[in-house]
């Protein structure tokens, strides 16, 4: 998950990491209901909001998402969405979908087993937003469910031998719905061939 980001030497007044915030759903679980459409996880449209420190920033994004398993199989995708504005509601713009993705799929032959838990790391620099110091940007995560219709296990839970579409209690929950976003100063970040994601399309 974490990425090695060097900070500026002591004589500098600023550093690579301009701000940082993380979000953890702790032991709270949630399951999606939709097929073939995006649905905001936990219904939470404000997992993290950052106040921009420096014009035209770069964001370091990392998450861990876990999904439980149902008796046959499940398949789902996840994406990051973001919205920005001039006040702390960060809602002047439409929701944007910068194509930052992850996906989970598990299969067994008729047994409820443990699910999947995986993470992503990603650098995103939405230059088209023209973000300036004092603007706000907020982040959420959406889920796309497979079209089979019975394919909606809980997130942030992993149980054995039990239907993952049930809330199976504290013992099996936590540790897999986490998001951290950090604003980086691009001057301190080197990316091979400058392949930094600059997507700014609507979600």
């Amino acid at each position: 998950m974490g990425r090695f980001v060097l900070r500026k030497p002591a004589e500098s007044s600023s550093g690579a990491i301009l701000s940082s915030a993380c979000m953890d759903k702790e032991k709270n679980v949630w399951k999606g209901t939709t097929n073939n459409s995006w649905e905001t996880c936990y219904g939470d449209e404000n997992l993290i909001t950052l106040k921009i420190v420096k014009n035209n920033p770069l964001f370091d994004i990392e998450w861990v998402l876990g999904t439980d398993h149902v008796a046959t199989w499940n398949s789902q995708a996840f994406r990051l969405i973001a919205r920005y504005g001039t006040n702390s509601s960060a809602n002047d713009s439409a929701w944007k979908g910068p194509n930052i993705m992850d996906q989970h799929g598990t299969w067994t032959d008729g047994t409820s087993v443990c699910g999947r838990s995986s993470g992503i790391v990603h650098l995103w620099r939405p230059t088209g937003f023209n973000l300036v110091t004092g603007n706000y940007i907020k982040f959420a995560i959406q889920r796309w469910g497979d079209s089979s219709g019975t394919n909606h296990p809980y997130m942030n839970q992993s149980t054995e031998y039990t239907d993952g579409t049930q809330d199976n209690g504290d013992e099996w929950q936590g540790g897999s719905f986490f998001l951290r976003v950090r604003e980086l100063d691009p001057a301190f970040v080197t990316c091979r061939a400058n392949q930094i994601n600059t997507s700014t399309g609507n979600a």
């Binding site: 998950m1 974490g2 990425r3 090695f4 980001v5 060097l6 900070r7 500026k8 030497p9 500098s12 007044s13 600023s14 550093g15 990491i17 301009l18 940082s20 915030a21 993380c22 979000m23 953890d24 702790e26 032991k27 404000n46 997992l47 993290i48 909001t49 950052l50 106040k51 420190v53 861990v64 876990g66 439980d68 398993h69 702390s88 299969w107 067994t108 032959d109 047994t111 087993v113 443990c114 699910g115 999947r116 838990s117 995986s118 993470g119 992993s158 149980t159 054995e160 031998y161 504290d170 013992e171 099996w172 929950q173 936590g174 540790g175 897999s176 986490f178 951290r180 950090r182 604003e183």
Partner: protein
């Protein structure tokens, strides 16, 4: 899953105060009785069990990250790993649980990995707010009752033998990471 190393100088946004990592040096045979929890302590000479972390700053928060890999047999494998911590009264508490599974009938393939991350406020478990709190971490694992584990943290693509992996690659298959962060990171908003 790289990790950051604390820099020697302060920066505009305080980042990592201190970190600690526990990781074993290789694979393990972990086919303990399926369908029940087992402490990880007996494996790897105790490298992952009852690990003490002493907080470095007042009112700190921690990020706890852990991961594991299971090798795959010719049927299927499934299980999970629970991150544990003793509360201030010495009672073990479950912080979070991650799982993995893999299935193929009749072919030994690569297995699967799982990764977990959570925020921890020691004060939520009865600890004080000052630096110097002694936190004790361990892990429990549970092979699924039908898909019992065999070899863990041994990377191979077509066997499940007790070795150091097909490419001599067995590191990175199991770990626990503690990262102490400033209080300001705790909230979902930074303003």
């Amino acid at each position: 899953m790289a990790r950051r190393v604390p820099a020697p100088a302060p920066a505009s946004a305080a980042d990592v105060e201190k970190m600690s990592l526990s990781q074993p040096s290789g694979w393990a045979q972990m086919n303990s009785s399926a369908g029940s929890w087992h402490w990880v302590n007996p494996w790897w000479s105790g490298a992952m069990g009852d690990i003490t972390y002493v907080t470095a700053t007042d009112n700190c928060r921690l990020l706890i990250k852990w991961q594991y890999n299971h090798s795959h047999g010719d049927t299927w494998r499934s299980g999970c790993v629970k991150q544990m911590m003793k509360d201030a009264s010495g009672n073990w508490q479950n912080l979070g649980n991650i799982g993995s599974s893999s299935f193929i009938s009749g072919a030994s393939t690569s297995g699967n990995s799982a990764f977990g991350c959570l925020k921890l406020n020691p004060q939520s478990y009865g600890f004080g707010s000052s630096a110097g709190q002694n936190l004790i971490f361990s892990q429990q694992f549970r092979p699924e009752r039908n898909g019992n584990w065999s070899i863990m943290a041994s990377f191979a693509v077509n066997n499940e033998s007790g070795n150091n992996g097909q490419a001599g690659c067995t590191r990175g298959g199991w770990s626990m990471h503690v990262e102490e962060i400033p209080l300001s990171h705790w909230n979902a908003q930074n303003f």
